[in-house]
Symmetry: C2
Subunit: 412 residues, 2 copies
């Protein structure tokens, strides 16, 4: 796309009340707009990036048998009362509102309850199991403080997957597959080396749940990492018994700040028993379905990538999540330069390569500063030299490394 046609502009300063680095950079680069504290809109560059993250997660969820659906945000009070999660004394971050048609409703904070109820219409027999359903859907949480930019919003995109199995064993097998899929997601978005599977409290039905924690100074959590063993623990499970079980010496643990980018959880039969989701087994006996839940917030993940990888000049996107693969920057308003840059843009975009083309009539310094801020992985500089020789400077945003290439070499 031609940058002269992109409706967003960069800006020198973020809003004065924005304290999170991720939101400051994303706002300055024109990726997001801050509506209110903890509420952000995604502008074209931001939506492109978010959609790249969503598509990676979708592929990995489909690969483990996930079927995509889309549930409502408006929630049925009666349903949530049956699992005792409606009362503000029990769950303190509902947005609740009144329906003109009568009664209260709330905005979905998570979706175990509605999906379990949906499944009572579709699961009756062991033959109907397993089932794995997931969605990308905006959740709402009435946060008192929202100071972490897009990492903790009052409204945020969540991928939530839920598993339904006939037995604990079948559940455990899927849970392990989901853990592996999560590892692949964080690898693919460029955070694999700094993201740790972290043992956390498991609730009633299991000893542990697992969190995926990305080490970052912007983290709100503390984790305790044994680097050599690549094992990590949340404070709540840091007992001598647990350490002994994993053969970890407390002296080897290093405390790190981290951002929780995902979690996987054994739900057991808590929701299926409360909401009547049972199946007939091969002997005809009624049994409650065994469930699990698996969350990744794509918007939080996008903020985490910014916190982890950006530098003093701006955003730095890994290739798999960048809004464009290349940023062509033409220098000067020389006709030969424009013709060369136009031709390169047509050649690359005609071949299906995603290119942002800064065709604006601005000074070189301003265009380079914008390009650094926007953070596309590779910048192709088109000046008089390139127009004369057909050799383009290709600059790697992350490393600063420069290669000289012809158009055909770039395309290859």
């Amino acid at each position: 796309m031609r940058q002269s046609e992109l409706f967003t502009k960069t800006r020198r300063e973020a809003p004065a009340d924005e304290v999170a680095k991720n939101a400051q950079l994303l706002i300055r680069a024109g990726y997001v707009h801050k509506e209110m504290a903890g509420v952000y809109s995604y502008l074209p560059l931001g939506l492109r990036t978010l959609n790249k993250i969503v598509e990676i997660i979708r592929q990995e969820m489909n690969a483990i048998g996930g079927q995509e659906l889309f549930m409502s945000a408006l929630q049925d009070k009666e349903l949530w009362s049956r699992t005792d999660r409606w009362d503000d004394a029990k769950v303190d971050n509902w947005f609740k509102t009144t329906m003109k048609s009568g009664g209260e409703t709330g905005l979905g904070i998570t979706h175990e309850e509605p999906l379990t109820r949906i499944m009572t219409s579709h699961i009756a027999s062991y033959r109907d199991l397993p089932a794995r359903a997931y969605q990308f859907q905006n959740k709402f949480r009435n946060e008192l403080r929202a100071k972490s930019g897009i990492m903790r919003g009052k409204e945020f995109l969540m991928k939530d997957l839920y598993s339904f199995d006939a037995s604990e064993e079948a559940h455990e097998t899927f849970y392990a597959a989901a853990r592996d899929a999560y590892v692949r997601v964080f690898d693919r978005v460029g955070l694999g080396d700094r993201t740790y599977v972290t043992f956390a409290s498991g609730g009633i039905f299991s000893e542990f749940s697992e969190e995926f924690q990305t080490v970052s100074d912007a983290g709100e959590d503390l984790i305790y990492v044994d680097e050599e063993k690549r094992l990590s623990f949340n404070k709540e499970v840091l007992t001598d018994d647990v350490l002994a079980k994993f053969g970890v010496d407390r002296a080897n643990l290093v405390e790190k700040k981290a951002i929780e980018v995902g979690n996987i959880f054994h739900l057991g039969t808590r929701f299926s028993e409360a909401l009547g989701l049972t199946f007939k087994d091969e002997q005809g006996a009624d049994k409650p379905v065994v469930m699990g839940s698996y969350g990744i917030g794509p918007t939080r993940l996008m903020g985490t990538i910014v916190e982890a990888l950006s530098d003093e000049k701006g955003l730095v996107w890994p290739e798999e999540v960048a809004p464009f693969a290349y940023h062509i920057v033409s220098l000067g308003n020389d006709d030969a330069v424009s013709a060369t840059a136009d031709a390169l843009y047509e050649k690359l975009s005609g071949a299906g390569v995603e290119v942002l083309y800064d065709d604006r009539d601005l000074r070189a310094g301003e265009k380079f500063a914008d390009s650094d801020l926007i953070g596309i992985p590779k910048r192709i500089v088109v000046g008089k030299d390139a127009a004369a020789t057909g050799m383009f400077e290709v600059v790697n945003r992350a490393t600063g490394a420069v290669l000289k290439k012809t158009a055909d070499e770039i395309l290859a």
Copy 2:
């Protein structure tokens, strides 16, 4: 996909409280789940269909220069107060709620206000115009009565596009292009022949706006159609002056029930003046931006397609919006039949054709009834004959026409 793995099942009866034909059929076929009156979740078949509709609209919006973004549902009371659309006495369908961080917020009923404010950060000069931005985003409206299934939800998906131009003339040119794009959308989803551009009241800034009305007994609107001239009018503009202007004789108008599936609207400078969205023109003078808004509800459109095209046996999807192109139905649990059906499924899906394969061990009558209900455009029957001869019956869901084809002929 193999139907044995699809987690949804069909059902004989819709919920007793569901009075709309579209929701009755979609629930029975496993496309949607009713959460509450006017609130529906989209199950895998329903989401596939909805995404097909979304993608058609996206293509047509991109083709007229639309740039996609995604705004928040949570709205800033102060912003809406400035256009006098916060007060319940002025706008009566807000869902409002209280933030723990202080103050009230509401769930977006439409997005003129936030987008106009966003644009004040990006539009400063005539050089920054035009801009066309759109989104697919869930709107919330606190409907007192919600009896039209997915055609009128308390929560529903909307495509809303907004245009920003430097002059009335530039706006009119884009408005005409948007009208043409809308005509293409309704053609592509299979409703072109029964959808009329209908003149309606234009508000302060223009004589008319235009509604796209699809003729249907389930419609909540009445339109007045001159069939010969393909002109249609809303009751509010049905004056002698208007008829004279279009050369229409009142005696030739036929009253029809119709569903409003889209609308395009001149906003003039109402929002830009109220919210300070101005630009410097070529002479350096400050002028308010001229705006337009353009809406299509993909969920309502999906419901309209059901109302218009379904029959007594179930759903009937046009090819462009069907969740799958083919429905392979195997008959009996004969090994040769299974092998033949498996091979056909692998061949078609391997070639990128979208196929639902009913591989379940059920009676033929039950499988045919399910297939009719689900409404995939073409059914391929695989019985002993097909296994023996390699000739498959391909049945057209809409017409009932039957063709005999080999696997290669189907693929071609």
